[in-house]
């Protein structure tokens, strides 16, 4: 099993890389994100699958992000993502607006080794109008039937947090299958896990159903509470107070800097 320390694993992420990130309900590698902030990795291209929140906002606020491709960036019940909003308004990041199924489909194209996948809808939207990389063609099986084609997205890294890893390097992701799609589509997969499992998930067909095989996994970090302050369903809830505190503090750039320093210091002390 490729069990690494968090600094070893995160060091594989290089400046300028495209990182695929899961939505907030799905296992976000927040401890690894703090390590990424410490290592100073920059010029990142964030691909939200299909949306992100605190994770993207921290990286944006710290100036580590060149481009965000997402269907949405939000802190959910804690409101707008303040540094994302400020960065878009100031024009300091390139925002590539997408829509959820387009991101899923572009990753599935990569998963299938295809140059593109078609998708219904989108026609007549400004999402499409602002995506010169998307094409509209006439459906060859139809008659005057325009349809959008999306080029495959192949991230350099898929980074996420999930429930457990076994001694063979397999991950158990349960029904969070977007994590599997991310891994299949990406050149490298780095996962942090809540727990380690002795043995082999494939020895039990009930567990096997929720497995992302080791064949797709490049680095695993044992990181209990690795999604905090976001939720890890079945383990801990979203730390709404922490995130609300963030939302308030990060309303200003100075507030963000102070909050982040305190947050990182608290993490190191823990």
């Amino acid at each position: 099993m490729n069990i690494l320390t968090i600094d070893e694993a995160v060091a594989r992420i290089e400046s300028g890389m495209t990182i695929a990130l899961p939505p907030e309900y799905c296992g976000v590698a927040m401890a690894a994100t703090r390590e990424l902030l410490r290592q100073g990795t920059g010029r990142l291209h964030l691909l939200a699958v299909p949306q992100s929140g605190l994770q993207a906002d921290l990286l944006i606020g710290a100036g580590r992000v060149a481009t965000v491709e997402a269907a949405a960036i939000t802190l959910g019940e804690q409101g707008p993502a303040p540094r994302f909003t400020a960065a878009v308004r100031a024009g300091t990041i390139t925002m590539v607006d997408a829509t959820c199924p387009a991101i899923h489909a572009a990753l599935q194209a990569s998963e299938k080794g295809l140059p593109f996948l078609p998708l219904r809808g989108i026609l007549g939207s400004d999402v499409l109008a602002r995506r010169p990389d998307w094409r509209v063609v006439d459906n060859p099986f139809g008659n005057d039937d325009p349809i959008v084609l999306l080029p495959a997205i192949r991230p350099d890294v898929a980074l996420f947090h999930c429930e457990m890893a076994d001694s063979q390097g397999n991950l158990w992701i349960g029904r969070r299958r977007e994590l599997a799609t991310m891994a299949h589509a990406s050149a490298m997969t780095i996962a942090t896990v809540e727990t380690l499992h002795e043995g082999d998930f494939f020895a039990d067909e009930t567990l096997a159903a929720g497995v992302l095989p080791a064949a797709y996994v490049d680095a695993i970090v044992h990181s209990p509470r690795g999604a905090w302050p976001l939720a890890m369903p079945g383990f801990y809830e979203r730390d709404a107070a922490e995130i609300a505190g963030y939302a308030a503090a990060a309303a200003s750039a100075e507030g963000f800097v102070a909050w982040l320093a305190a947050h990182l210091a608290r993490d190191e002390a823990a």
Binding site: A72, R89, P101, G121, I122, V127, R177
Partner: protein, 237 residues
């Protein structure tokens, strides 16, 4: 509990009559509550899927399943909000002003650009009913209200519920029609506070207020069911 909130939940729930399979997207506490209320009232929904929920979510294919299921025709109704909504039912979830240097930026289009085309009954909801939110023309089209006849589009908007009224949407005309006005408002007020032109029939009824049984459902099971995904909202119900 805010009486307005309960009123709007009950009003949204009526829009689900006969819709058996309802999905509720991100950032949608009132629509989510409306779906649970409609089910409790036996109005139609048997299957409710709340994005980001664990207990009200039967997806096992990950995030793409909502979109695939919609395309398969297995979802009857869905709610959509908008930072701006215009008279042609175009929806803006992205930005006000120039896209690259906007005056205001919102989270993003989510799945709207797709689901608006594929789910037969899309119920638009925006509580703030002012010329700022209901505009003549949106600054950014996350999803268009109508499409040319040759565009594959089994779905689209059927209604717009606001803090002042209910509009029905006429897909052929591509225009809203005033359907009912909430008890605390009036046709004149709706006209003044709406940034787009719309049709007004001869008789415009008052939107019915929820009865005690409905209020009890909202304060009871509905509140409990929505708490998993929107704890802060549920605490306020």
């Amino acid at each position: 509990m805010s009486a307005t909130t309960a009123f709007l939940i009950a009003t949204l729930a009526r829009q689900l009559a006969g819709a058996r399979r309802v999905a509720v997207g991100a950032l949608s506490p009132m629509p989510g509550s409306a779906a649970f209320l409609a089910r409790a009232q036996g109005l139609g929904p048997r299957q409710i899927t709340v994005l980001g929920s664990r207990s009200n979510n039967d997806f096992t294919e990950g995030g793409r399943e909502l979109f695939d299921r919609a395309a398969q025709g297995r979802i009857d109704a869905f709610f959509l909000g908008g930072a701006q909504i215009d008279g042609a039912a175009n929806v803006n979830l992205v930005a006000i002003g120039d896209h690259d240097r906007p005056r205001a930026r919102f989270p993003g289009s989510f799945g709207s650009s797709y689901l608006y085309f594929l789910i037969p009954r899309i119920i638009l909801f925006r509580e703030e009913h002012t010329p700022r939110t209901l505009v003549d023309k949106v600054d950014f089209i996350s999803a268009p209200g109508t499409s040319p006849a040759n565009v594959y589009r089994p779905g689209g908007p059927t209604a717009l519920v606001t803090g002042r009224c209910v509009f029905a949407f006429d897909r052929t005309k591509g225009r809203f029609l005033l359907e009912s006005v909430h008890p605390w408002s009036s046709i004149e007020e709706v006209r003044d506070e709406t940034g787009f032109a719309f049709d007004v029939p001869q008789d415009v009824p008052v939107t019915p207020s929820p009865d005690d049984a409905t209020l009890a459902l909202i304060a009871g099971p509905v509140r409990e069911q929505i708490a998993e995904t929107y704890p802060a909202f549920a605490a306020g119900l």
